[in-house]
Amino acid sequence: MIVFVGFLLFLGFGFDVFYIGEGALTFPIGSLAALGIGSVSALTSYYSGDRAVLLSTGAMAVDRALSSAASPDDTYKIRQLDNVVEEMSIAAGLPKPRVYVIPDSDPNAFATGRDPEHASIAVTRGLLDTVTRDELQGVVAHELSHVRNLDIRLMTVIAAMVGTIALLSDWSGRGMSSGSRSSSNSRDNDKDSGAAGLILLVVWVVAIVLAPLIAQALAMLVSRRREFLADATGAELTRNPLALASALEKIDREAAPTLSVKRGTAHLCIADPLGRAMGLREGFLPDLLATHPRMADRITALKQMAYQA
């Protein structure tokens, strides 16, 4: 988090020094606009992001899912989900979040909302069909942990920051060609500070080029840490880490992509919905840019909690 703010400040600082400082621009219109757009998008997603996400996945509120249930078995499964969510919110000491069912046959689940009072948990139909009651409990506990640890808010803020950094870097890069012309005149005036200024300029240019990549990698690092934390908190709620471990194994086996979940929601899901089979793709780069830790690592961590690995 601090790294993020520092990064943002450094980019803004460079912008000021090399453009405003040398008279290329009289008003920091670029950074102000970038910050403005960043905050507007952050605020929008803060207040109505959950509705947008739920709408985009075609999620159905549990009441509506119940009334449109095709068979008694459907009703049973949905009631069970509703009950499990209520049980886990009691265990977590949180208000009960709204419950949604997504008509998708791939097992997955996610949580959204800005705080525990405005949280929603959505589960795919496929998950209800694949897992047992205990395993469902583990999955719901994991999602509720995201709610309790305020991960949803954190990821919203981070997403906004990544966006702002990308914007800043984009505009700075574009302004560079016009900026360099006017700065060549002013460089004659202060030759002494030229060496230090040049080093700073080089570092800044490198930072701009790499900014979006680094920001993304940082965001994903945060996301992966929060996944491990949610697994652990979930196990604390159910006192049954093995149920979540076996649910993860089942979800991992069905590695098909969850089509109804879009890319932007990936970090909120229990398993990477884009179907990137993390267990198969090892190495530095996939690890750096994945929203979720490798499934095998998560399962091992959970089994260690039960002294079984």
Binding site: T75, Y76, R79, N83, A91, G93, L237, R239
Partner: protein, 186 residues
């Protein structure tokens, strides 16, 4: 020298205020946790007559088991005091466990959607009672630890805080894992 002394005193006062507020917050959470258990027990009491009525028709021959459940429920409803309530709720849990074990012998019952649904509701209520107790114990432990660790332990009692009791199984029979065999191996 006086300044240093004053600064130390001010620091201690600020710390004491923070401690007091934290303990009050925890105490309220503990109380809330305790009430939550009652709420869940009440729900269980409300659900049981429903269940018994649903299975009554198909379980004509098991009148005893059904009466036991209803009697245990009546006793649990009229329990006085936490210790008494804990014991009677435990008995009710056992009576319910027996009912479900016996119900497994009736294929028509197992296939009945209403019974399945009610069984789910009851499982859920049992879980809710369990998780409410778990939450209470967790929060009470946090509250107690906050009071008993150094240096809070020098002030907690003076500020009027007492450690909360944890929820414990009072009945020795409840400590045993209930032997409910649903595998139907006979």
């Amino acid at each position: 020298m006086t300044w240093i002394l004053l600064a130390v005193v001010a620091l201690v006062v600020v710390w004491a205020i923070a401690l007091y507020n934290r303990l009050v917050g925890l105490r309220n959470q503990v109380l809330n946790g305790w009430r939550q258990i009652d709420v869940q027990l009440k729900r269980r009491h409300d659900l049981i007559p429903n269940l018994v009525n649903t299975v009554r028709g198909a379980m004509e021959f098991e009148r005893d088991t059904l009466t036991q459940v209803m009697e245990a429920r009546a006793r649990a409803v009229s329990a006085t005091g936490p210790a008494d309530a804990a014991r009677k709720e435990g008995e009710l849990s056992q009576a319910l466990g027996r009912l479900f074990a016996v119900a497994e012998n009736y294929p028509t019952l197992r296939a009945n959607e209403n019974v399945k649904m009610l069984q789910e509701e009851l499982t859920s209520t049992e879980n809710k009672v369990g998780f409410a107790r778990q939450f209470y114990n967790d929060i009470a432990t946090t509250f107690n630890t906050a009071q008993q660790t150094f240096p809070s332990n020098m002030f907690a009692a003076a500020l009027g805080f007492k450690p909360s009791e944890l929820f414990e199984i009072t009945d020795a029979t409840e400590r045993q894992v209930p032997a409910v065999d649903l595998s139907m191996r006979k």
